[in-house]
């Protein structure tokens, strides 16, 4: 009996302990929830509004920069007599799109969100910003952008934000990025005896050769060019850039409709003999040559591994976006120089008709932020969105803290960021890449490039061409899906037309509101011809790709 009593009292002491633990953890949770919700002020002061700002940018500096910006915003609003707390939420990128969709569907989204996903999701869940982008950004008062409209304050006049499927603006861009090469000066100096950085492809390949020889001579696993092989980002960048350097002038004449052109134009020209197929294959040959200096086994090496290899001092050059510049320069135990991607010149056998580096003006914009339709604080959300894209604050968050390029005009860069500024002193913008039709078929093209680099065929261009033709069924099936998608878009566009037409004919509207509906309807209908052109181009592409021959003309 006594043993049972002892056991019973042990059990009940154990249960009491468990209960105490549960209460403690519950109280901790309550405190954390209150803190996350904006602090006790929001609970004890009901007129304080809380807005949430969510994104997936977890890199150094980004969140810290926005914490400082948020503090400034709250103080400024308090001076205006508005009590507001801004909560910043950083969500890891891997789960962000699922989290975003859950938030939007669930009806309790954050008030300012980083956008990801399809045009349909944007159209369904996000506020269109067209009515607001023509106004000036009040937060630009006293800055060089004071007299610019919100749209014009951006470096590309918000072209990158325009959704092509709905001809609408659902977001604004926060930053810009350019592609640069990070060079390990110490290693290059040891291998070549000089600090001189390569300006041309010929010089670059020569340094790479010397790096490789140095590695063999010193039994060191030196990698001349470090790449992001796993996600094929480096290959894609190199292919785009050197295609532009070699074929940028095709945009001047390839299309019957104007400047630029689409893949169908290039293949049609090949089929009717007005374009030499070899021009399109020269970038492949160049990439095959550059690729000989990639790390062994590069297709399986991801960004983190490459950065690790770089920081270990064994990589000569690393090609990546400017968003990594600060960490590359700051975290390396050796001197790192940031240089432009080397230019292809006539000194190289393939550089006979090279056009120079690609102009980067108005390109590379990223960081789309918008306002969901279901926000409970639209006015504040819009105000905050304007705030973070204002001249002073965008520089604070992007340039000062994150060391990224701003998406705004008139920003002056200093120090190492000057090396990241877009190239604007060349005459050619990007070239239309006929092998890039987006989607899975383009990944196949990049896999083909990988295979060519690994297998080192005698004619990389021919191997690439034949591989591309072998994948025709995949491309054709993708194009067919695209055509169906465009037809669905035409249906949706008519839905927009109808909604805007009925909305604008409501007799109770003011003149201003009516004009807004008219303008939005106009934007929709101005997109109709563009959609038909997409449709025709894709059908034409399917036809021209089928006619391509394996042998040279």
């Amino acid at each position: 009996m006594s043993k049972n009593n002892d056991e019973f009292s042990r059990n009940s002491r154990f249960q009491r302990f468990g209960l105490v633990l549960a209460i403690i953890f519950f109280l901790i949770s309550v405190v954390m929830v209150i803190r996350n919700h904006g602090g006790t002020e929001t609970i004890f002061s009901p007129d304080t509004k809380v807005i949430t700002f969510a994104h997936w940018q977890l890199e150094d500096g980004f969140r810290e920069g926005f914490e400082e910006a948020i503090k400034i915003y709250e103080e400024e609003k308090a001076r205006q007599g508005v009590k507001v707390k801004v909560r910043q939420l950083g969500i890891p990128i891997r789960g962000y799109s699922q989290w975003l969709l859950t938030q939007l569907i669930g009806g309790e989204p954050a008030d300012v969100l980083e956008l990801t996903g399809s045009s349909d999701i944007f159209n369904q869940y996000f506020v269109t910003l067209s009515p607001y982008i023509g106004e000036r950004n009040p937060w630009n008062k006293g800055t060089p952008l004071e007299n610019y409209s919100w749209r014009e304050s951006f470096v590309d006049d918000m072209l990158a934000s325009l959704d092509p499927n709905y001809s609408e603006f659902f977001s604004v861009n926060l930053f810009m990025m350019t592609v640069r090469v990070y060079a390990n000066v110490d290693l290059i100096r040891k291998a070549t005896g000089s600090d001189k950085m390569p300006d041309t492809v010929t010089e670059w390949l020569e340094i790479c050769r010397k790096l490789r020889e140095y590695g063999k001579a010193t039994d060191r696993p030196v990698i001349p060019i470090g790449v992001r092989g796993f996600d094929k980002a480096t290959l894609s960048t190199l292919f785009y850039d050197y295609n532009a350097q070699l074929n940028g002038d095709l945009s001047d004449f390839i299309s019957a409709y104007g400047f630029g052109g689409v893949p169908a134009d290039a293949f049609e020209a090949i089929n009717n003999g007005t374009l030499d197929r070899e021009r399109l294959l020269d970038p492949v040959r160049l990439i095959a040559e550059i690729g000989q200096y990639f790390a062994e086994g590069f297709p399986s090496i991801d960004l983190e591994q490459t950065k690790y290899l770089f920081f270990s001092g064994n990589v000569g050059f690393f090609i990546d976006g400017s968003y990594n510049a600060w960490s590359m320069v700051n975290n390396s135990p050796f001197e790192v120089k940031v240089i432009r991607l080397p230019e292809l010149t006539a000194a190289h056998p393939l550089g006979g008709h090279a056009l120079g580096r690609v102009n980067e003006l108005g390109s590379g914009l990223g960081g789309k932020f918008g306002i969901p339709k279901r926000t409970k604080n639209f006015d504040l959300a819009l105000d905050f969105l304007r705030f973070i894209t204002s001249y002073r604050i965008n520089q604070l968050t992007m340039v000062e803290h994150s060391r990224w390029l701003s998406s705004l005009k008139q920003v002056k860069y200093e120090g190492f960021m000057k090396d990241l500024e877009p190239i604007t002193d060349t005459g050619y913008t990007g070239a239309n890449d006929p092998f890039n039709n987006g989607g899975y078929s383009y990944r196949r093209v990049l896999q083909l490039l990988e295979k060519i680099i690994i297998e080192k065929p005698s004619d990389p261009g021919q191997m690439f061409w034949e591989g591309f033709l072998d994948d025709r069924p995949i491309l054709t099936s993708e194009l067919y899906e695209t055509v169906l998608g465009i037809q669905r878009t035409l249906w949706s566009m008519d839905g927009s037309r109808s909604a805007l037409s009925l909305g604008g004919s409501n007799p109770s509207l003011s003149e201003e509101e009516r004009e807004l509906f008219r303008r939005r309807g106009g934007i929709t209908q101005e997109g109709v011809t563009g959609r038909y052109r997409n449709l025709d181009d894709n059908i034409r592409l399917m036809r021209e790709v089928e006619k391509l021959k394996r042998e040279k003309n």
Partner: protein, 279 residues
Amino acid sequence: MFQMFRIPVLLTFVCGAFAAVGSDEAVDAIMKAYSDMNYPQARKLAAKLPEHPEARLVTALCDLYDRTSPQIERAQQELALLFREESLSVRLRSEAGLSLARTAQLMKERRDIYGNAADIYDHLALFREVEELVPDSAMARDAFLYRIREELEREESRDAAFDELERFIVEFKGDARLLTPLRQMAEYEYIRLRSDYANAVRHLEAACAEGFDNPSEARSASFRLAFLCDRKLKDRERGIRYYRKFISEYPFAALSIVAKRFLKELGEESVEVGDVEEQ
């Protein structure tokens, strides 16, 4: 006797007035929900006034355009009825007719999904009826835009379609800004079907003069005008004029670099980059 009925009659009038006002507010709410493309809300509100013409129209349009729960056959039948109901306002009838015609047209391009379901509607005839019902309006413009594209596609009707396109634009008495999408179509089709750059540029020039609602289209058209004048029409003078105009309007655009290069090739110095004009 009248005294006896005075109050009930008064009450009836008052209730009727409130009902009318309430009904107007309800209709406004339905239209607002639909114009926001909030289909579930629009449907829900319209279900409260099932016999009201606006509610019927909105319900049918939601059935047509709401991809989460489409009821296309039912929607088109209702739209066909609404289009023929002469007692309804022209605005409602034309919207019903235009949506019916357009969706029937698109369904005929997807027979793999819709089979022959849309064959009962002569969409081309419906487009014409809408054009006649609301001439010189945005709806007439849209009906014509959708119809003429199809007519131009057919070789046998192509020449007549081009003539009709020119006639429509010349005779259009509504707001000239409404013609911009048609001029875009004209520009594209003149090049695609006839390689006729003179007419294409004529329409593009007029569209640029009338203005675009989409600032990106405006910019793209501005550059394209310069390019086509220079490269296709070999009209050096107009090419230079329009390149310079583009550079002064869009100094920070990527294409301004290209415009400067083209000016250089034409032997001209480019304009100084200045501030963007205020809107």
